[in-house]
């Protein structure tokens, strides 16, 4: 990172942070952000991106490290306001927008004190300034619009303008260069909107530098000047995209780590898939998310949908689960056509179970393990003659799962609140294994779980696969695909690029 000191605005060196349970959320990380640059920070979930961002905007302090603002050493900011004084502001991934406010009200939210005249707001002054800002950043909208009326990409632009405004107002200087952190800015946008957003951002590059935190590799490659790769809290790579020629595979390798490829459990993989088709997806389309998706799922088969974040894979699986509706095409489950808009419980009745690695979404945290497992398996624990709950059977079912998945818990009656993240996930996975629906959708099943726990989950996944459960997998971890999937569908920008067999994928990965 050779950079002339005048050009650097914000630089942090040797920053580390540990939390109580997780050792080394950040380990000796250094980043320099210069004038007129766009820097990318990429990494898996849990790699430390979020912690780094929060330290930069002052949400919490690091354990050690140094901060330089324009070459001078300054203390770390203690809150977002101080961070703005040091030139940094952030645009959050979600929930940053206040829908019922008008554009000019939202832009100046938090800074009204600077515009009070005789105990009332100087609205004319605010509006004038708002118009100027929007013009400067080429945002096409009326300041009197309500935020909810505007398209998402425009909302994002206004959020960026607001972040820049935060920095300027703290310095009371319009020419100050701000560093704006963009946290997964394109997550809620459609493919067309992303292009718009990026061209707008590139236009702003004159006075603003951006830190683009994302895990959508193609976008990062296209729009950033330099990229830092984080893995397990460490900065493992730094690419200068103007100088070096980097490919997507290089990124994957850096993010995932070649060493861990070897540490992985390698069972004897028998690709068992029968002829029976359990799921037909035909020309499934949802404007803005995915187009013309077609594939067939056989009994006992596992299909992986592979693609960068934002490619539409998550939307596809959520659609099959019933959380999102589709606009065109057909979804035929075990020979019966499903309606475009069906609640998840209806899809479950049809035979589709959905599991997301995001715990808390579907776990009942104040319930013990027993109840969490039995809630999807109620029919199995009812007594024969009177349909009441058999508590013994419930306990035994839970004990079986705890044993099989090696869940670390004092007992099956422990509340899920007190379990560790990995154990919580295992409980979630376990309940679906017990239920064994015809089709199981897995979204990020092993997120945040350590290698040992992953091994347990993979073992069990392969076992139920042998039993004839079909699966669709979405994950950020290519190893998982190579291990579990018979067929892998590559998706980009919402469209299918190619389909290859699991074997071939494994070979390509090991190169």
């Amino acid at each position: 990172m050779v950079m002339a000191i005048d050009d650097t605005i914000v630089e942090i060196k040797n920053v580390s942070k540990t939390f109580n349970g997780v050792v080394h959320a950040l380990d000796n990380v250094s980043i320099a952000i210069g004038k007129n640059e766009i820097i990318g920070v990429v990494g898996e979930n849990g790699a430390g991106k979020s912690t780094l961002m929060k330290i930069l905007v002052g949400v919490y302090p690091p354990d050690n490290g140094e901060w330089y603002y324009k070459g001078t050493k300054v203390p770390f900011p203690k809150n977002p306001k101080e961070a703005a004084k040091r030139g940094i502001s952030i645009v959050y991934q979600e929930k940053g927008v206040i829908p019922c406010l008008k554009v000019y009200q939202f832009l100046f939210l938090g800074h009204e004190d600077k515009y009070i005249k005789y105990s009332r707001l100087d609205i004319d002054k605010i509006k004038k300034y708002a118009r100027e800002i929007l013009e400067e950043f080429h945002v096409k909208c009326n300041i009197e619009n309500f935020m909810y009326e505007l398209p998402l990409s425009t909302q994002k632009m206004i959020e960026i303008a607001k972040a820049i405004l935060n920095v300027r107002l703290e310095h009371e200087d319009d020419n100050i260069t701000s560093v704006i952190i963009l946290d997964e800015p394109t997550a809620p946008l459609t493919i067309e909107e992303r292009r718009e957003l990026f061209s707008d951002i590139l236009n702003m590059k004159k006075n603003v530098s951006f830190v683009f935190v994302s895990h959508i590799i193609p976008e990062v490659m296209e729009f950033t000047d330099r990229v830092h790769v984080l893995r397990d809290g460490k900065m493992v790579a730094h690419y200068d995209l103007s100088k070096d020629k980097i490919t997507e595979e290089d990124f994957f390798r850096a993010i995932v780590g070649k060493e861990s490829l070897e540490r992985i459990y390698k069972p004897e993989i028998k690709r068992v898939a029968s002829e029976e088709v359990v799921l037909i997806v035909k020309n499934l389309t949802k404007n803005g998310s995915y187009y013309d998706i077609s594939f067939e799922l056989h009994r006992g088969e596992c299909i992986g949908i592979f693609g960068p974040a934002g490619s539409g894979k998550s939307e596809i699986i959520n659609t099959i689960a019933g959380l999102i509706s589709f606009e065109n095409g057909a979804l035929i489950i075990k020979g019966q056509e499903a309606k475009p808009k069906e609640s998840p419980h209806v899809r479950l009745a049809r035979g589709i179970g959905y599991f997301s690695g995001e715990t808390g979404k579907e776990l009942f945290l104040n319930w013990p393990i027993t109840k969490n497992i039995s809630i999807v398996n109620i029919k199995k624990i009812l007594r024969k003659f009177i349909r009441v709950i058999n508590f013994n059977a419930e306990k035994q079912m839970a004990e079986k799962i705890v044993q099989k998945l090696r869940i670390k818990t004092p007992g099956v009656n422990t509340d899920c609140y007190s379990l560790s993240g990995g154990s919580k996930q295992k409980v979630s996975v376990g309940k679906w294994f017990e239920r064994s629906p015809d089709i199981l959708l897995l979204e990020d099943p092993t997120i945040g779980i350590d290698v040992g726990a992953r091994k347990d989950i993979y073992e069990n996944t392969l076992e139920i696969k042998k039993r004839g459960i079909s699966m669709i997998l979405i994950s950020d971890d290519p190893k998982e695909y190579s291990l579990l999937c018979d067929k892998i569908i590559f998706i980009k920008h919402g469209k299918i690029q190619k389909v290859i067999s699991g074997e071939k994928f494994k070979q390509e990965l090991e190169k």
């Binding site: 959050y92 940053g96 206040i98 019922c100 406010l101």
Partner: protein
């Protein structure tokens, strides 16, 4: 931009108003219907005066809660403040004389503050919290009054007749309404309350001290209810009932919802409640004049409340609500 000629200018203002305040259409329709059905009874000055009286009663209680509703919470304690306040005036009259009337706004202020703190810090849902406060205050009212309705002399000047046919209470209400609207539209507090109602998480991320402003919202609401109670107190002849009337509690809510303030918050507020209160008052007055059984009015109130909530809930964007 071409300046539209005067002929087209007027209708477009009306169209704008209807777009922003759809209830005006309803109000207009009601006025037309009742005026044509009962031209003598409806359009005479005495009736209009009564309408103003009832409007005042409604507004005085609806102003405070309409501010809290903007943040997404509910405040049902206004009736309690009025009742307890009234009885405290009676109690303190011998000692404090004319100044005992000040106890009502003070009570409102204190109540709002305590409710706000409990809501923000202890995280109790506002509807059940303020309902309980209401019940406690009713109980205290009954205890202090000994179960008998007490009246107080000495404040007649508040509602002494000034202009014929216009209740003086109405004249007092005007500045209060203006104050409420001013706070919501032109001050920092107003914007922050709208922000909290629209997206509390986002407001926090933008650096707003959400707890502080929630407490402030309830405190202001209590203060307005207190001040409103002062006027209403004398409007009613200087006495308060000792039994809780469900209607008194529900009608201001109807006015708020009918006016177009969604219960999830984020928009609306006092300015809309004015229209809602007016519409509701006209409706009630018109129905009373008609030959409908008076008990039907209660039924219609309930149906109207439900209908307006359904209509405004359509807009709530996927909020998981209790």
């Amino acid at each position: 931009m071409k300046i539209p000629n005067k002929k087209k200018l007027i209708p477009s203002i009306i169209i704008q108003t209807i777009k922003i305040y759809p209830v005006t259409l309803f109000l207009f329709a009601l006025v037309v219907i009742f005026s044509s059905l009962y031209p003598e009874k409806f359009l005479n000055p005495l009736n209009l005066s009564t309408i103003l009286r009832q409007f005042v009663s409604l507004m005085l209680f609806a102003l405070g809660p309409s501010i809290v509703v903007v943040t997404g919470s509910l405040d049902l304690s206004y009736v309690g403040i009025w009742m307890l306040g009234g009885i405290l005036v009676w109690l303190l009259m011998p000692t404090l004389g004319i100044f005992s009337i000040l106890v009502i706004p003070l009570l409102g202020l204190a109540t709002g503050f305590i409710v706000g703190v409990i809501q923000a810090k202890a995280k109790m849902p506002s509807f059940i919290l303020t309902l309980s406060v209401l019940v406690i205050y009713c109980g205290l009212t009954g205890t202090i009054s000994g179960g008998i309705s007490r009246s107080v002399r000495g404040y007649e000047f508040i509602t002494a007749r000034l202009i014929p046919y216009i209740p003086t209470a109405f004249l007092w209400t005007i500045p209060i309404i203006i104050a409420a609207v001013f706070i919501m539209k032109y001050t920092k507090i107003g914007i922050y309350l709208y922000a909290i109602g629209s997206n509390e998480e986002g407001a926090r991320l933008a650096g707003i001290n959400v707890d502080k402003y929630k407490i402030l919202a309830f405190t202001i609401s209590g203060l307005f209810s207190g001040i409103g109670s002062v006027i209403y107190f004398q409007h009613q002849g200087g006495s308060v009932p000792v039994v809780l009337n469900l209607n008194t509690m529900v009608w201001p809510l109807v006015a708020i919802v009918l006016g177009g303030t969604p219960l999830t918050g984020g928009s609306g507020g006092p300015q809309r409640t004015i229209l809602g209160a007016l519409t509701f008052t006209v409706l009630c007055r018109g129905l009373t004049l008609s030959f409908l059984d008076p008990t039907m009015i209660q039924l219609i109130t309930g149906l109207l409340l439900i209908a307006s909530i359904i209509a405004s809930s359509r807009g709530s964007k996927g909020v998981t609500i209790l």
